[in-house]
Amino acid sequence: MIKRLIVLLLMLVLGTIFWQLLSAYQPDTELNLTGRYYADHTADDLGAANVVTAIIVTYRGLDTLGEVTVLFLSAAIVGLVLASGRQGEKQRQQLTPVGELLTIGMRLLVPLFMLLGVYIFVNGHLTPGGGFQGGAVIASGVLLTLLVDPVKHFSHRLIAIIESLSGFFYVSLGAMGLLLAGGFLDNRILPLGELGHLFSAGAIPLIYSLIGLKVGAEFSSMLIDFSETEAP
């Protein structure tokens, strides 16, 4: 009874707060100072057609590096926690076979998934999406493979190499911005090119591709770790 009363009271308080927020809300008629700066200067300064990507990779590049680090940390911790339960060779007979539909669908879809993921992060500076989205799409391709064949062997070494190399080159490109251009993660170390073309926006496509590979490798390694862990 008292519990319900407290919940009701809490909801009432929350409702009042949200109502006050909502009633005081007025949509902005123009961009605020920072937003206007980004909207006005991105195309000229950085040569990226997608302003969001320019903000994520260059203006707020340090935040993105932090995000990638957090993701790496969580993948490493998942691997560390699950490493103790890793099984050797699981018998194939134990598993119930998945349907033909899923098997054929996997063979058809996984290459397309990979292609879409690569497309998303390579075109991150032109179209919506980028490294994180593309990496997640690649990881869903890996997940589909795992759904069809849970004992399929993926090379952990290969994934680790892809992951570390892309992380290393990401930070190296950032440091090169420090030496050759305006600052850490500045994209103007390469020629900006023509706005809207694939090879434009300086280092942004390179950096976003590296982020995509890194994120895809991290998600995939997490999923493979889950799959390889023996049920206790």
Partner: protein, 92 residues
Amino acid sequence: MNSMITIMTLVLALATIVVALVSIRTKQLPVAILAAGLVGLFASVLFIILAAPDVAMTQAAIGSGLTTFLFFFVLGRVRGMGKNDAEEGEFD
């Protein structure tokens, strides 16, 4: 045009709430997982209406794609464990 977008937003918001409630209240776990994935999908459509396609893509790929698959994966694992436990119980 503008009022149509408002109506669509309202319908999507209501559907999100309904699906979220279904996800909480239902007794069947697969239905709950699918409903949770649907919440993410509706949210990503809302993001598109709010002109944020980048966020919408992240939400669709991770929020409603990977998470749903992962939940099913874990559900299958947990169910397998439950079965094993039951079999062991029979042998006892």
